[in-house]
């Protein structure tokens, strides 16, 4: 129980009539990096957004099945979606800093939680930026607009912003897809360091990235979970033919 963070049971998601996720059942281990791979449109991002209930924002979506996080069904009627999102942070594909200063971006989550004390905020901002390995680059320009940063810096700032609310699980939706190779490798290093403290689920279309960063890999295809296992096993001897075809580049 302790090393299984998320237990998904028969989770299906519908966009109106269309079934986009088909009876997903899987387990996500704690303090590990789990990669979700698959061709575009296979439902991996949709599944990721189910974990912190971002799909609630789309009116036509309906969900059946269970999503147990540490044994609590987050789709239970009595569960508060805002508290879920505080515990399960998310980093998006496109870096999306607020049009505010770097400092205010990181402090945002704390401020909305009612923390306004300057010293506490300073500390949170510094810790978070250090954790995101971007403190040294930014410490002298915390007052500048976050929009002036490079793409890679923006994305790491977004990670720092997520860390600042001290979540338990971090969801990353193709965090490096829009970045240059150097920034990408920085993000990958960061993911590697962060898994000590956080459970990380990362969606990627880049198989090398999945192989490099993750401990476990789940392969999605056409809204179904085809196969899941230890990353090195999935990549070396996949059980299902579809997985093998995808990994060897025969489609996708």
């Amino acid at each position: 129980m302790k090393d299984i963070k998320i237990q998904v049971n028969d989770l299906s998601l519908y966009y109106g009539e269309k079934k986009a996720l088909k009876e997903i059942t899987m387990q996500v281990p704690a303090n590990k990096v789990t990669a979700l791979i698959g061709p575009s449109g296979c439902g991996k991002s949709t599944f990721l957004r189910c974990i912190n209930r971002m799909n609630d924002l789309i009116p036509s979506v309906s969900i059946t099945g269970q999503m147990l996080v540490e044994g609590v069904d987050i789709y239970d009627k009595n569960v508060d979606v805002v508290n879920i999102r505080k515990k399960i942070g998310m980093v998006f594909q496109k870096s999306n800093p607020f049009p505010k200063s770097i400092y205010e971006n990181v402090a945002y989550g704390s401020r909305i939680n009612g923390i306004n004390d300057k010293n506490t905020l300073d500390e949170i901002v510094e810790t978070s930026l250090r954790q995101a390995a971007i403190w040294d680059e930014l410490k002298d320009r915390l007052g500048d607009s976050a929009l002036g940063l490079s793409g890679g810096q923006q994305q790491r700032l977004c990670i720092a912003r997520t860390l600042a609310v001290s979540p338990d699980i971090i969801l990353m939706d193709e965090p490096a897809s829009a970045l240059d190779p150097i920034s990408t490798s920085k993000i990958e290093e960061l993911v590697h360091e962060l898994k000590e403290q956080y459970t990380i689920i990362i969606v990627t279309h880049n198989m090398q990235q999945a192989a490099r960063t993750s401990d476990h890999t789940a392969f999605f295809y056409m809204g179904e979970l085809i196969e899941m296992g230890k990353t090195n096993e999935i990549f070396t001897k996949p059980e299902k033919k579809q997985t093998e075809d995808y990994i060897t580049g025969r489609f996708g």
Partner: protein
């Protein structure tokens, strides 16, 4: 090779498409003429008003009271009355319009009947003739609220139950409400979905997201709406004909329960009911020029801000 294709092209044109080509040019010409006509008329109006109004148009004209039975002097009280009108109007209409726009973009779900009704109402408000607002102001604000207030609290003494600047401004605020709602809505829609999601993913509630991310991003939209509303409110006359505008006042309004002079109403009065229309012609044109400068420049500012928002959204 090249010349050969050209020949083929020209032969095709001469045999088949000659007729349609002439017809096409004619049609495009007619549409061009329509555009030209509109623009020409616009500039003719502008030109004539500037030309006829320039003689009287001066700082003194703007800053002095009318004298000698309104046949001489300036338009200061009308200008001030218009300013007070649009300020009170904005105070009432801007929060109201902004909140309605927030409801429509942030809270209303697409399938909601209530939201559809709100939308329809806003669009209806935009097409209701301005004189109807005047009637409503008279029937609702003056006769119902104002007179009701007087009987209840003033012991029947007439103070609020008659036309005044407050009722005129409120009437005008209803008229300009759709202008603000539409502008703010447009601005709210340019806030990218990613920013809202970022905020929500950090555990912010809906209202926190709106307050901290959405509203700050749409300040310029709210400004555009306000400016457009002010421009509209400064020029409309029909709603204030019987809700507060006065023919002539010797002093500026001292409280919200006073009547006021207004630029547009001043033009109307001077042009149709002046004791000497011929003699006051330069004054009338100059007043029109002032009103036109006011509304057009406000509009220009709004257009510039709006195009900036649009460019940013791209």
């Amino acid at each position: 090779m090249n010349t050969a294709t050209k020949e083929i092209n020209s032969s095709l044109l001469s045999t088949q498409n000659k007729n349609t080509d002439i017809k096409g040019k004619l049609i495009v010409g007619v549409t061009q003429l329509a555009v030209f006509t509109i623009i020409a008329v616009l500039f003719i109006i502008l030109g004539i008003i500037v030309y006829e109004g320039r003689e009287k148009f001066s700082w003194e004209f703007i800053s002095s009271f009318p004298t000698n039975g309104m046949t001489e002097g300036g338009i200061f009280p009308a200008l001030i009355g218009t300013f007070i009108l649009v300020i009170v109007m904005s105070i009432a209409a801007v929060p109201f319009g902004t909140i309605t726009a927030i409801y429509l973009t942030e809270y209303a779900s697409e399938s909601s009947k209530f939201a559809a009704a709100v939308r329809f109402s806003v669009r209806t408000l935009a097409v209701v003739p301005s004189i109807i607002f005047g009637l409503f102001g008279l029937g609702f604000f003056i006769q119902f609220i104002g007179a009701g207030f007087d009987t209840a609290f003033n012991g029947g003494q007439l103070r609020w139950g008659q036309p005044n600047i407050l009722w005129a401004s409120l009437t005008m605020s209803l008229l300009t409400l759709p202008v603000i709602i539409v502008s703010v809505e447009e601005a709210l829609k340019t806030i990218p979905r990613e920013l809202r999601e970022a905020s929500l993913a950090l555990g912010a509630t809906k209202w926190q997201t709106i307050k901290n991310v959405v509203l700050p991003g749409s300040i310029s939209g709210i400004m555009t709406g306000t400016i457009l509303a002010v421009s509209r409110g400064a020029g409309e006359v029909a709603p204030i004909l019987f809700t507060g505008a006065a023919y002539y006042l010797a002093s500026l309004p001292g409280s919200l329960s006073d009547q006021f002079m207004n630029l547009g109403y001043h033009i109307y009065i001077m042009a149709t009911q002046s004791s000497d229309v011929e003699k006051t012609m330069p004054i009338q044109f100059a007043t029109t020029l002032v009103l036109l400068i006011l509304t057009l420049s406000l509009n220009l500012v709004a257009v510039v801000i709006r195009s900036r928002i649009r460019r940013k959204a791209k």
